[in-house]
């Protein structure tokens, strides 16, 4: 899996490419923006072609590390394959999910400034 990190108005955007499974989940878990409890992160899942329980586990545990568990990690551009896995596991209830990265960044930014 490849992780590309960009930043917009102080919000880190992690774009994931490829497979998010037990092998690649530690890479996401150990990402600097993910580890930082103060940092709000938008994860773009558009290019994720496979995700398993370890992948979901990595995203769930990332949100648990944040100061704001429901708003610290915002998901964007979830494709159908990923959405179905989130739905089966009922993990979609834990996150705010956007179909557009810009909207996700706007939301994350408003959450961050509200909590500041």
């Amino acid at each position: 899996m490849t992780i590309t990190e960009t930043s917009k108005i102080g919000i880190a955007i992690l774009s994931l490419y490829g497979t998010l499974d037990a092998l690649s989940a530690p890479e996401l878990r150990n990402n600097r923006s993910i580890i930082d409890p103060e940092k709000t992160v938008v994860i773009d899942l558009q290019q994720v072609d496979f995700i398993d329980s370890s992948g979901i586990g990595a995203i769930v545990s990332a949100s648990r590390q944040k100061r704001q568990p429901s708003g610290g990690i915002v998901l964007a551009c979830m494709n159908d394959r990923v959405r179905k896995v989130f739905e089966i596991t009922n993990a979609q209830k834990l996150f705010h999910i956007f179909d557009d990265t810009t909207a996700a960044v706007d939301f994350a930014s408003s959450r961050q400034s509200a909590s500041a």
Binding site: V60, A91, I97
Partner: protein
């Protein structure tokens, strides 16, 4: 124009309770799933794309509706948070909405529309804001109108909340009575107020009293009286000399001989009274029963593999168990208490012993590390009552959102999938892993996961 259909699990929780065999959005109204009425309305209003939003599972709905090509529209699905406002929903679906006018139908309510009206012109000329509301439901328009409102234009519309079995029954009966004139309804028939599906076998002596709606693959046997106001689903058998009047019979239901179903909703082996909300389960399959595919046959390979592996484990750990169990039992380190757990089938329970081993001594530590506390449960795998690996057995009598009636899969096991994973096997996290594996695992991967669970338990207990 585009349409968003938004639902929250809390709005249709009563459907899960009363009709667990059907997804609430596919709840049939006059033999047509509820969601289809909303899609029809969205099309009448001029929508080219519809997005269904829900904070619960949409798997069954997606399998039924697919990508919407059946209706000539683009149908997509997305998740919402239970407390999202309409503004938040629009933000989360910004890409879908684009710059176009959007109609948001939110809430689990039935739209009383009339297909003869020109809703397309009406919607494109209406100002933004709320169009219609009812308790728990509303239709909202966003964006600027593209046309001016012609004076002559009328588009009658109202919302009816579907918040109980009573309102569901009323909506169904109303739809049956107004019938084809207002809605697009399934079925064929030369006469008005009489719609039949495919492969309906009617004996000569059967009496049909209008209005009726009958689904596909239905058998009506000798001297049965159907109607007035009867909605019979698909794959239904009405046996000899029974009558169904002012009632709804769900799909896959068998109505026995000499029965009178008046003002009731029959679903599987349950008979519901829509007025009081009371329901009783018929234990006698000759009176009322569900007709369903044999689930046991589909799960047979998994059960065989699990039973074989359980036998191997029983044989392998027989000697340590026969030595350690009496020692621990006599020493007071092995405590066992009976408890009732939820079984794989909804509404059924099974007794299981809760074993607690005080791992203070060396013998107890070995017993715990070898998972001997689960030894007795392995015999339940051989008899098919438990899976070797599956969900963590849930205690009966507790009202829990992850109880079998609410979740797509629940398979109590000796070991749980959460124990096979390395990340914290607690509460919601454990449930997530279990649901993932219940949907994706097969008998062979189960063997690998059993070994993983066993090793994880061994490492965890041996480090304690």
């Amino acid at each position: 124009m585009k349409t968003i259909l938004a639902f929250r699990e809390s709005e249709y929780a009563w459907v899960h309770e009363k009709f667990p065999c059907v997804h609430p959005l596919l709840l049939p109204l006059c033999n047509k799933p509820f969601i289809e009425f909303l899609i029809d309305f969205a099309i009448l209003a001029g929508s080219s794309a519809v997005r269904i939003l829900c904070d619960g599972g949409l798997g069954e709905v997606e399998r039924y509706c697919e990508d919407g090509s059946r209706w000539g529209i683009d149908l997509s699905y997305a998740s919402i948070h239970p407390d999202d406002s309409i503004h938040a929903m629009l933000g989360k679906n910004r890409k879908f909405c684009g710059e176009e006018r959007v109609m948001i139908v939110s809430g689990f309510s039935f739209i009383r529309y009339d297909k003869r009206y020109d809703y397309k012109s009406f919607v494109s000329s209406m100002p933004p804001g709320e169009w219609s509301t009812c308790p728990g439901g509303r239709i909202t328009l966003t964006g600027v109108p593209t046309k001016a409102v012609p004076d002559w234009l009328i588009a009658d519309l109202s919302l009816m909340p579907l918040d109980s079995m009573t309102s569901y029954y009323q909506a169904s009966m109303e739809t049956l009575k107004t019938g084809e004139s207002r809605y697009v309804l399934p079925g064929y028939g030369d006469e008005p107020e009489c719609a039949f599906g495919r492969n309906v076998v009617i004996s000569k002596s059967v009496e049909i009293r209008k209005p009726v709606s009958i689904g596909n693959n239905v058998q009506l046997l000798g001297n049965a009286i159907i109607g007035p106001s009867a909605i019979i689903g698909s794959n239904v058998i009405i046996d000899r000399e029974s009558s169904v009047e002012s009632s709804i019979v769900f799909d896959n239901t068998y109505i026995g001989e000499h029965l009178e179903i008046i003002g009731r909703i029959a679903s599987g082996n349950r008979l519901n009274d829509p007025k009081s909300g009371a329901s009783i389960a018929m234990e006698d399959p000759h009176l009322l029963s569900g007709i369903k595919k044999n689930r046991h046959l589909r799960s047979l390979p998994r059960k065989i593999v699990h039973a074989c592996v359980a036998l191997v484990i029983i044989a392998a750990f027989f000697i340590p168990f026969i030595i350690l169990w009496p020692l621990l039992k006599l020493g007071g380190h092995w405590k066992s208490s009976p408890a009732s757990f939820l079984a794989e089938r909804t509404d059924e329970t099974m007794p299981l012993a809760k074993v607690e081993v005080d791992a203070s001594g060396a013998a107890a530590a070995i017993a715990v590390a070898l998972s001997l506390d689960r030894y007795f449960r392995l015999f339940r795998v051989v008899t098919g009552q438990l899976a070797l690996i599956g969900s963590t057995p849930l205690l009966a009598g507790e009202s829990r959102p992850d109880a079998p009636a609410y979740v797509p899969a629940y398979l109590p096991g000796v070991f749980s999938y959460a124990e096979a994973e390395e990340w914290a096997a607690t509460g919601g996290d454990a449930t997530i892993v279990e649901r993932f594996h219940l949907a994706h695992s097969n008998p062979l991967t189960d063997i690998g996961l059993v070994i993983k669970a066993f090793i994880n338990r061994f490492q965890e207990k041996s480090t304690i």
